[in-house]
């Protein structure tokens, strides 16, 4: 049992799985000697050698396209895309090939691959270093999309991804890479892809979120509780696709109210899918419309204004208030 931050938990998961499974290889920009710009792969090239951990040319489509070939050839590549803003050049290889290979070849070729991607805002970074594109990939059948919100979850979910026979986009919220530490077992454990986590239980309202926003939600809930507010249940989705609708449904059937929180733009963000499903599944139990607290329908602003863009505890609290008052 060690006290680790999210970066260290991912690093540990990679080490342990690479020792178990020699088909796992890591590739990407600056992940070798440099250990990645966030140091997530620190020490791995030294430990596993240049055949298993290697730097690539600076080309994201190439990184993913090569990885697809590696996966078709029987390995489990773990490409790192340096920032989510640079997924764009790889969009076609991910959506036209990785997502389709199994289905278009009726299983003759498959793409077991875990794409690691730092995601989200709040770290004062330059342009295109602060976005949240998870909904784009959740709308693309054939992919799995994971976004942990804690070191413990990160390790357990990454191990599952590294053992998954299908392509997984593993989004790492950079805002909480080093925000806090928690106990993370050295011993092997996995967290199932597709299952949510109930962070705290409550009876009056359900908050659904994922990634760094979960932390904002916890703050808002604490305040609400301190000030004797409603009893709130917080669900951390953990995986965006497949997503744990059963957990959300059970909770909202109980509470009758729901607030969804994410950093990505509102329109067609994944919150819209959750809101639509809740209506479909819990229509008769709903006491208020599902509230969405999300990024706005604008480009993520440069860092001087980024905190005005990102959902924060205040906006979450306001949504809880509105939803309860409805």
């Amino acid at each position: 049992m060690a006290n680790l931050n999210l970066v260290q938990a991912i690093n540990l998961a990679l080490i342990q799985e690479m020792e178990k499974n020699e088909n796992i290889v890591l590739l990407g920009e600056d992940i070798g000697v440099n250990g990645g710009v966030f140091r997530v792969t620190e020490g791995l090239q030294k430990r596993f050698g240049e055949k298993r951990v290697f730097d690539t040319p600076l080309a994201e489509s190439g990184i993913i396209g090569l990885s697809i070939g590696l996966a078709m050839g029987g390995l489990h590549p773990v490409p790192e895309i340096q920032f989510e803003g640079f997924l764009g050049p790889a969009y076609d290889q991910i959506c036209s090939h990785a997502a389709r290979m199994r289905s278009r070849t009726r299983g003759a070729f498959t793409v077991p691959m875990t794409i690691r991607i730092p995601v989200g805002g709040g770290i004062h970074a330059p342009e295109l270093h602060s976005d949240s594109p998870e909904a784009i990939y959740a709308h693309t059948p054939g992919l799995k999309v994971v976004m942990p919100s804690s070191p413990y979850d990160a390790k357990g979910l990454l191990v599952s991804a590294l053992r998954d026979p299908d392509p997984v986009l593993f989004f790492e919220p950079k805002r909480i890479y080093r925000a806090y530490r928690e106990e993370v077992p050295e011993d092997e454990y996995t967290l199932p892809i597709g299952k949510a986590r109930t962070v705290c239980e409550g009876d009056d309202l359900t908050v659904v979120s994922w990634g760094a926003s979960v932390v904002q939600c916890m703050q808002a809930i604490e305040r609400a509780t301190e000030s004797g507010g409603p009893s709130i249940e917080l669900i951390d989705l953990r995986t965006i696709y497949p997503f744990d609708m059963d957990a959300i449904e059970a909770s909202v059937r109980k509470t009758g109210r729901c607030v969804v929180v994410h950093e990505a733009p509102l329109t067609c963000g994944f919150g819209s899918e959750i809101a639509a499903r809740i209506m479909e599944k819990c229509f008769l139990e709903l006491e208020a419309p599902v509230q969405r607290v999300a990024g706005f329908d604008t480009t993520m602003p440069y860092y001087k204004l980024e905190l005005d863009y990102l959902p924060d505890a205040h906006r979450v609290a306001r949504a809880i208030h509105d939803c309860m008052a409805y």
């Binding site: 040319p57 396209g65 009726r106 003759a108 054939g142």
Partner: protein, 368 residues
Amino acid sequence: MPITTAYETKIDRISILDEHGNFDEKLGKGLVPDADLVKLYEAMVSCRQLDEVAFRLQRSGRMGTYPQNMGQEATSLGAAYVLRPDDWMVTCYRENCGLFWRGVPKEAILLHWMGDERGNAMPKPHFVTPIYVPLGTQMLHAAGLTMAGRYQGSDRIACTFFGDGASSEGDFHEACNFAANLHIPVVFVCQNNFWAISTPSRINSAAPTFAQRGLSYGMPCVQCDGNDLFATVYATKQAAEYARKEGKPAFIEMVTYRLGDHTTADDAKRYRDQAEVDAWKARDPIIRIRDFMVARKLWDDAKEAALREKVEHENAEAVARAEGIAAPHRADFFDSMYAETPADLAIQRDTMHTHSLAQDPSQLPPEA
């Protein structure tokens, strides 16, 4: 010296059996044993005949859009003849002749164009990938497949095919660059058939050759007459030996011509002159080999007639197998998405024609 030379290079052009029947003994002698030559010829004729059959199938509504290979048989066949059975051959959609040589069942290709994914379930032992639709994307997979093989201890290489048009895609550049810099032995074959649908090759490259596309990456580059089977064999042999020995990529431009329309959905008369097509008909790779064999008493009209009959029969059987396959099951496209079908997707599958998607069946009255 203020002005020095930073780099200097030269690209060869290989031609062994030219359109006038001139054969270069020095390069050509012993390159392809007579017995093999006959088999290769038969393969080209068979592929050509299947093209005609496929065309008729499309016209009679028994197949969707189909891209004929006519005129380009010698490119992929020459490569397939040289490659080891366990080398990867990663192609686009105009390399039927090479794929069939490696044992890919003809019905697989037919099924693909009949709108049936089962045509893409390529048998692994052939080390080929299914037809690729998005241009320029497959070469990166060729590099990955080869790197995986090396990782697993094999000295397998890959040979990947793409067109003059596809070489304009960014992924082409990235594939070449990755292979060269990460030392992945891939033979890149650009099939320059002068057209990308209606777009003349000069719009895809203003350079004197497509072969020089490989110079950026420091690859050995060569151009060859793609309608000369001996030349495609020779060029691929050299490139494959280099790649396997050095563990590095090589680049070949095979100059050929698309004798038919781009696909059955295309009408080439809209954008190119018949004169140009006729000139290239005279350079047909099949005629060239037949004349060569006849001159060497390896072939005659009787053999030709027998071959025609055999080929028509075989191809008819392939069509029968393709059309005889059971209709795909509606559920197929759900169950092939993931190793394990997510619960929500299973519900979509099971209720696809009985409920509207959004509906929780438990809340439903029976269908009216």
